[in-house]
Symmetry: C2
Subunit: 292 residues, 2 copies
């Protein structure tokens, strides 16, 4: 067991999945949860996925925990950390699951204590569903979890790594800025594009929503799944990973403009070259066990 | 049984799935196939999915068929139609499965005979895999098939509709231009965007391919599946549905630019409004049984 007492703050898809996985695998002895929403706390109690659940900031839980994982939207992580750090146990670990890391580190750092190890994290896992009932224990199996340690304490990093490995993940350690650029490419910009395209389709005056729904099986539906992800979380991601997102979006628009030009000028060779080179990466993703 | 003898020209994913489905459901009595590739013809024979298979243009098969379905890349449909129409039986039906319809109608029309009914079609179904071994009989179940009839013969349209319904599809009749605009929105532009984004990620100097593969589970992998579709087919789609594709792409780029601006100026309300409105269409797609 990596940690005796675990506090999960925020009982959404990720938080409730960590709770379930920690219980199922024995990665934590006692699992405590808190959430600002009374109805979410009620749901957690009804589902029985935690040993204790409390509404609000739950200082009494934070004071007991060996590991506190913040599973709130990225824009709230710094405030919640500032609230809980003063009451945390000496020697405890503070982590999070935010999809961006640079802004989290920047926001939390001023509130840090020398005797609490801050190790931001990001499990690369999720579904388009939200809330405590959407979670499941297997969510992290065979998925990567990135840790961006902000403390020199190698023993605490080893423990948190062991925790995620017990949940079924592989762990990759990198610095926050690199995480934000890599994830801008593999996650943030794909989400922005999916949200945009689904919006474009909804707004087409000449095409009815009924037609979009009927004929969605040939490409569009995959975008709607991505674009059904939690709106608040994604707003926070884009506002806090602004530079990397805009850099990748600009490159994407350049590349799309080049293909537009090829279409307009009937340059089939350019199209074929582009379409042929993207197949290989799909095969590599399947080989790496990261397909669906 | 809607048609006694069926000829499928082109034994790729769609052609071989039609063959399997027609045999499995009894929608055709005899299923013949032809393909320009000797190795594909061999594979068809080995798989036993047709009652006869021939290499090349197979005039002897075309002369026997009550229904000929062209399952070749969109750019080849007109040439194959021109080759086969002169030998087809009087009273037979000529159809296709091309992802675009306007250019198919334009290319085939000069070669038409009064005694052959031309009813272009497009089954909205597919996977990212290609070739005769990728096909399966259930591919069309619970999927829509669009027919854009170019003949006044209502009886023949009813027969082709019954054929597709026997394969498990629902049939929607519309005119070619409307098909091309609707599909540009739900299929062609989503594919162009997926091909572009996967290319952008591959070309990022700062992010390795290994990182893209490892962290693909949070959005990117869905794009790689779409971008693994048949390159030749998609080149032809964009070259032959140029106007509708460019119209939808331009709207998409406008919408993406607006979201870029919202990110740059930290306008969270605009982002949240956009992200919240796209959830509803996902629910409608699930309700319509068009989710995965």
């Amino acid at each position: 067991m990596a940690f005796e007492t675990l506090l999960i703050v925020g009982a959404g898809l990720i938080g409730s999945s960590i709770a379930r996985a920690a219980k199922a695998t024995g990665a934590a002895g006692t699992v405590l949860m808190s959430d600002t929403s009374p109805s979410v706390v009620e749901t957690v109690e009804r589902l029985g996925i935690a040993d204790g659940a409390a509404e609000g900031s739950a200082h009494h839980f934070a004071a007991r925990a060996d590991l506190v994982i913040l599973c709130v939207p990225p824009g709230r992580i710094a405030d919640v950390a500032a609230d809980l750090l003063p009451v945390m146990k000496s020697g405890a670990v503070l982590s999070d699951v935010g999809s961006i890391k640079g802004a989290v580190v920047e926001g939390v750092t001023p509130h840090l204590r020398d005797d609490v190890s801050f190790i931001p994290g990001h499990p690369i896992a999720g579904t388009e569903f939200s809330g405590p009932e959407a979670g499941f224990a297997e969510l992290f199996q065979n998925r990567w979890c990135v840790l961006t340690p902000m403390s020199e304490d190698a023993a605490r990093l080893d423990e948190l790594q062991a925790f995620w490995e017990q949940l079924g993940s592989e762990v990759s350690v990198m610095d926050p800025a690199r995480h934000d650029l890599v994830l801008a490419t593999t996650s943030h910009v794909p989400h922005l594009i999916a949200y945009t395209l689904v919006g474009t389709a909804i707004d087409m005056e000449e095409v009815t929503q009924n037609e979009v729904v009927k004929f969605s099986a040939s490409g569009f539906r995959d975008f709607t799944r991505i674009a059904a992800s939690d709106p608040v979380m994604w707003r926070d991601v884009f506002l806090t990973n602004k530079d990397a997102t805009l850099e990748v979006v600009d490159r994407f628009i350049e590349d799309l403009s080049a293909l537009k030009r090829a279409i307009r000028w009937s340059d089939g060779d350019t199209l074929l070259d582009q379409f042929a080179k993207t197949r290989d990466i799909r095969r590599k993703i399947m080989d790496a066990g990261q397909g669906d």
